[in-house]
Subunit: 254 residues, 2 copies
């Protein structure tokens, strides 16, 4: 290494950084992508909405910190939080991203089925779900993080079984298709979607017997649960964009 720590290994001399995690927590509600945001109670950006997150504790990994913060913000039990999929997105290190001090932030994305409003436990008093297309300017560089998270989630739906994380334990293929359509912002052909999902080994498995979902208007649908595969073969590719809307800014840093 070219900036080796000094002989005495004094952390303060070479450790002028704070480290945080930021969480982009998504759910699909009413056929819209929603993201969990918290209102800031103090400067800077007081009153603005931000991604939930916080500082790493002294002997905590970023993944552990992300799960702890998620449990605090959502009121979910540690068991639930411990089981769900947390994906590290990337790390944001712009020297000016926090006006107070030098902060690098490790961003994570999490996917949840539709849940009741977060029970404000402690500092999560002002946490709520927002339509991901209707969030105003967020605090810090969180607009950028949110955009990167949406890109990543959309891409992962293509070749991973991640979409089931948006669904409850048992779900219909219609609900699964709704997830894809909502995240991608496109409409998919129902018979074709069905054919592809069922032909991908381990993506979903039918729930035993002939159980069917109640409540809807049309013919009841068969129920499935998530299979044991994590990768999707063959992948479920997004239809090529016609023309409009291209957001992604290929891998820069800041």
């Amino acid at each position: 290494m070219s900036n080796p720590a000094p002989e005495g290994y004094d952390p303060h001399a070479y450790a002028p950084f704070a480290v945080t995690v930021d969480l982009a927590v998504f759910t699909v509600r009413d056929a819209r992508l929603h993201v969990l945001l918290v209102e800031r109670g103090q400067e800077p950006f007081r009153g603005r909405w931000a991604l939930p997150g916080g500082f790493l504790l002294p002997r905590e990994s970023a993944g552990d910190a992300a799960r702890r913060e998620l449990a605090e913000e959502t009121g979910l039990g540690p068991g639930t939080v411990g089981a769900l999929h947390l994906e590290q997105l990337r790390t944001y290190t712009d020297p000016d991203r926090d006006p107070r001090m030098r902060v690098v932030s490790v961003a994570y994305a999490a996917l949840l089925p539709d849940l009741p409003e977060p029970r404000g436990g402690g500092d999560a008093a002002s946490a709520r779900w927002w339509d991901a297309d209707a969030v105003g300017p967020l605090a810090f560089d969180h607009d950028r993080i949110l955009a990167d998270a949406r890109d990543r989630i959309g891409a992962k739906l293509e070749y991973s079984c991640l979409a089931t994380a948006f669904c409850p334990a048992e779900f219909t293929l219609g609900e699964l298709q709704q997830v894809y359509e909502t995240v991608w912002g496109v409409e998919l052909d129902r018979p074709n979607f069905r054919r592809k999902v069922l032909s991908a080994p381990g993506f979903v498995q039918p729930v035993g017997g002939p159980p069917r979902r109640t409540g809807g208007r049309g013919k009841p649908a068969a129920l499935y649960r998530a299979g044991d595969a994590t990768a999707l073969h063959p992948p479920l590719l997004r239809p090529p964009r016609t023309d409009a809307s291209s957001s992604g800014t290929e891998g820069h840093d800041r």
Copy 2:
């Protein structure tokens, strides 16, 4: 945030972290994947080989630090380093990953064409290329970082135009195919590879006129240079693994 900084914003109180970058720099040489390593001159892990890297300067982003370190280790000019593709992999935050102090490290991957041995400038005196399959145990958690980097590079070859970064400015399709075969560890059918590469818009563009490569034994090949596309449509999918050699720990990143 749940661990807000204190009123006075004293960096030392909430900033007990050092931040480094680690670089997985790859090249293809003699049909083998090689990685740039440096020998550690001091404890811990004195005498062990490690990924190049170092501490962030006080007002430097991780990407800038990675480019600076790369220039120092390889002896490449800042112009060259500024142009090449640096991809942020992920960030490693295990509290015990560095025995000296709490260090979080942002890992980057870089791809270079085959170059002469690194000219040891300054601390790069002991930098050299290693066959990526023959590296002993590395310092810190660098074995893990290296494995993650190889996974990521292999995955990105499928749907991005990254492979041209391993090639010189002008290259033959045979050389490009060699990159894929080396990184993936498989043999590809030459006519089929050719068909796919040429049918992907913007992947490669023929060099004007009828120039042909000299030196080899067989029929001279046409030269190409990298096109202007960054994504690959349709993707160039890896053949499904027969059975042998499974290193990957499922759930890649893309």
